[in-house]
């Protein structure tokens, strides 16, 4: 059975529909890119997949014994209050919380994991710094390190590269693809269509027309061709 199966899903807020009749499934090891215009409902879909909000209709089935505490998540925006006193290492370590279950304290293993992920994301030199005093890109990397601590199977990323410089963006894509090769399933929202085409195995396009399929199918489909030509047109002007 697939890791996640979505059937007849309708998304929305307060009885206002945004996307209806979504069907798709994600298998272990897939790299799914969700694309679509601003406001098309990508973040809403991701939040629904994470059970942060309930769907208006339809089902989300988890297979392969997938549990919530095996998912990592990078939100599009984290509204951290202005005054929140939290150091980078505290935040990254809090990503391990789901693993602990009822255990009150973090063990050696979690601390090691947090350290490794900070090194991976290049934020270990910021470990003692206060989160809210970091730049946007630095904050993004800290939150990614936290997401990496949380996951064993699936990583959901909502625009992971927004606000990162080109070099870090490239590193980030390499890192995500490396994680994917190591067996972690990736579900990523992105506006970076060229990266999506380069790394993804599957594409979910939501908007006026909904498309789900492998990358090659998408490149051949009408929705894909229209969207890609628009993007290229937009980038040339």
């Amino acid at each position: 059975m697939a890791l996640l199966t979505v059937k007849d899903l309708t998304l929305g807020y307060d009885s206002r529909e945004i996307v209806s009749d979504l069907h798709f499934s994600v298998n272990a090891g897939d790299y799914l890119c969700i694309i679509g215009e601003n406001g098309s409902g990508k973040t809403t879909l991701m939040r629904t997949l994470l059970h942060l909000q309930s769907p208006m209709a339809g089902q989300i089935l988890a297979g392969d014994g997938l549990k919530l505490n095996e998912i990592g998540y990078l939100p599009q925006q984290t509204i951290v209050q202005k005054d929140f006193p939290a150091s980078v290492s505290e935040i990254v370590l809090s990503g391990c919380q789901g693993r602990c279950g009822l255990r009150p304290f973090y063990g050696k293993e979690e601390k090691k994991l947090a350290k490794e992920n900070m090194v991976r994301m290049g934020v270990s030199n910021l470990a003692g710094r206060c989160y809210r005093e970091l730049s946007g890109g630095q904050q993004q990397r800290v939150l990614l390190a936290r997401a990496l601590c949380a996951t064993r199977k699936v990583l959901l990323l909502d625009e992971p590269v927004s606000g990162l410089d080109p070099k870090v963006t490239a590193d980030m894509y390499e890192l995500i693809s490396k994680l994917n090769r190591e067996g972690i399933t990736i579900i990523m929202i992105s506006h970076d269509i060229s990266a999506a085409m380069r790394y993804a195995t599957h594409i979910l396009h939501i908007g006026d027309s909904v498309f789900f399929g492998t990358r090659d199918e998408y490149l051949r489909s009408d929705a894909g061709r229209i969207f890609l030509s628009q993007k290229e047109g937009g980038e040339n002007t």
Partner: protein, 281 residues
């Protein structure tokens, strides 16, 4: 002055009172950061009013130990308010205001109609602003306060990491498999216990100050959750200790003296934060 202090300190009941005062101050400061940042401070305020109402009823009914009524009532209200507050933000606020002000009016009314006490105004004043002196605390209350404070501190330490996770980013915590609802419930219960404990020390109108000031002060100076928590605990204990000693020596009301010292500490921390913050930039 010193002689007078030493004389007081040689009495066991003074020592007990000081120990209890310190314990209460310690545990009331622990959740300050969470309350401020989760916007729960209004719940703390509302709860203290509910507790006031319960205290009035307990007084009228003539319970020998009023904590037995106040504590459960406050805990139940805390759980209800937290549930409501999470479902509908605005309606939750209105509900809190209604319940808390209602409880206060009702409490005073009941006290006025049924009380047999000759010194009604004094009684009300005591519930609102705390005893004139911590030394008048009843023995059974002292014991209950001591035990509850220790329990609160232990629970806080055990749940420290979970409290951090749901305070910093509740959505991430939920999405990655932390049972935030359960820990919010734990938080609600601890908050209620803390409010009731703090009321014994400084009275129901001032208890929010006892909870929030040390945290706000620590947040001026420190930048990580752990250091802020430790600092606010230390500050709270030091302020409560000095407040109680000043109050014993000069005969000022204990609750307002402690809070006044807390405010002073905040001013000092504000200046320190301003200087170090300025230096860093």
């Amino acid at each position: 002055m010193i002689d007078k202090l030493l004389m007081y300190l040689s009495y066991p009941f003074v020592q007990n009172a000081l120990i209890v005062g310190v314990l209460i101050a310690l545990c009331s400061s622990l959740l300050g950061v969470t309350l401020v940042l989760k916007r729960f401070s209004f719940i703390g305020d509302g709860l203290s009013h509910v507790a006031f109402g319960a205290m009035c009823i307990a007084g009228v009914v003539g319970l020998t130990n009023d904590m037995l009524l106040i504590l459960p009532v406050t805990i139940v209200s805390a759980v209800l308010l937290l549930r409501k507050g999470q479902r509908a933000k605005i309606k939750g606020d209105a509900a809190i205001a209604m319940i808390s002000v209602g409880a206060m009016a009702f409490g005073y009314l009941i006290m006025n109609v049924f009380s047999t006490s000759s010194n009604l105004t004094g009684d009300v004043c005591t519930t609102l602003f705390g005893s004139m002196s911590i030394l008048t605390l009843r023995r059974s209350t002292v014991w209950i306060c001591a035990i509850l404070s220790v329990v609160v501190v232990i629970i806080f330490v055990l749940f420290y990491n979970k409290i951090f996770a749901i305070t910093f980013d509740e959505e991430f915590a939920i999405a990655t498999g932390t049972n935030a609802e359960r820990y919010n419930l734990v938080l609600a219960v601890i908050i209620a216990v803390i409010i009731v404990l703090g009321m014994n020390l400084v009275g129901s109108l001032l208890v929010s100050a006892l909870v929030i000031f040390p945290a706000l002060s620590a947040m001026r100076v420190f930048r990580s959750f752990k250091s802020v928590t430790v600092c606010s605990a230390v500050l709270s204990v030091v302020c409560a200790m000095s407040g109680m000693i000043i109050s014993i020596l000069t005969g000022t009301p204990v609750g307002s003296t402690i809070v006044a010292v807390d405010v002073g500490a905040f001013a000092v921390c504000y200046v320190i934060g301003w200087i170090t913050g300025g230096a860093r930039k």
